[in-house]
């Protein structure tokens, strides 16, 4: 058994008005239709002449038919109002709609992030190979002003980089290259960038 709900007066009144409209319109349709059927019956005895009675019946039927149509249109308006009320106040379905939308958006976001992470992993592998190639080539042997590949690329975007942040990778790169240089006898094939001042061995 449903517990008695305490609705705001306006909503309670509104729903009661919907009920009333429904009952009135259905009653109007049924009554007018019944009266039309009754009026269609031809009486043998009439108070006025048959022609007058016929005219009267004709007019009455027109009015009742118009009443039926008006009641039908009123029912359509009631259905429209109910649709609007449903969209605004049917919280279970609104909640479900919101949850489903959130789910869709979240899954789309996760898919985007998954693709980005996969892309990042692939690029880091390629970057590793590129750095291997670069640091084993002759173009990495040069002066200490040479930047690591990633630093050289990022420098195009960031105009100001602190010297401290540069010196660390520089020192690391220089130390690494000095080991590689001492072991390599021939310079590798010319790098596309032509970075650096040519093969210069650090000893």
């Amino acid at each position: 058994m449903a517990q008695p709900r305490v609705l705001p007066q306006s909503k309670e009144t509104l729903l009661q008005s919907y009920n009333k409209r429904l009952k009135d319109d259905v009653k109007s349709i049924m009554d007018n239709f019944t009266e039309i059927i009754k009026t269609a019956k031809i009486e043998d005895e009439t108070q006025v002449s048959r022609a007058t009675q016929g005219e009267q019946d004709n007019y009455e039927m027109h009015v009742r038919a118009a009443n039926i149509v008006r009641a039908g249109e009123s029912l359509m308006k009631l259905v429209s109002d109910l649709k609007q009320f449903l969209i605004l106040n049917d919280f279970p379905s609104v909640n479900e709609a919101i949850n489903q939308r959130n789910q869709q958006l979240r899954s789309l976001q996760e898919e985007c992030d998954k693709k980005l992470i996969a892309l990042r992993d692939e690029i880091s592998i390629d970057l590793y190979e590129l750095e291997e190639e670069y640091y084993s080539s002759s173009y990495s042997l040069c002066d200490s002003n040479d930047l690591p590949l990633c630093e050289a690329y990022w420098r195009q975007d960031f105009a100001s980089l602190s010297p401290e942040s540069l010196s660390m990778p520089l020192a690391a790169a220089a130390a690494e290259q000095s080991v590689v240089t001492s072991q390599s006898s021939t310079p590798s094939h010319p790098h596309v960038n032509g970075h650096g001042a040519g093969p210069a061995e650090h000893s």
């Binding site: 009920n19 239709f33 029912l75 109910l82 449903l86 969209i87 379905s93 709609a97 985007c112």
Partner: protein
């Protein structure tokens, strides 16, 4: 959308009721039309009258049910739920993707320029 099941079901039921109201008026009109003939056919009359009665009864019953359901679920408060947060996160994810695509495009263009 296929996802909004319950909400659309009730709205579709109400649309079906609108069609039913139209059908009931049409049945009433065909009954009156049949009565206006010189020799109305009883079977046709009875069928149309039964259809009219059934349609009106169905409309009344289903509309009453909808109003009863609304009496149970309506709270009188505005709904404050929103999917804005999820939409914003998704938009940011799409922006990240777009940014990554642009950067890769720039890298590819830089590579082509250097190849030339």
């Amino acid at each position: 959308m296929a996802g909004f099941g319950v909400a659309n079901e009730r709205l579709r039921a109400l649309e079906e009721l609108e069609r039913e109201i139209g059908a009931s008026l049409q049945s009433a009109g065909s009954v009156i039309l049949e009565l206006s003939k010189e020799k109305p056919q009883e079977r046709h009359l009875d069928r149309q009258a039964a259809q009219f009665g059934a349609a009106v009864a169905k409309v009344e019953a289903e509309l009453s049910a909808q109003i009863r359901y609304l009496t149970q679920v309506a709270t009188g408060q505005p709904h404050e739920g929103s999917s804005y947060a999820a939409r914003k996160s998704c938009q940011l994810a799409l922006n990240r993707l777009d940014y990554a695509r642009r950067r890769l495009g720039e890298l590819a263009r830089a590579y082509e320029v250097m190849l030339e």
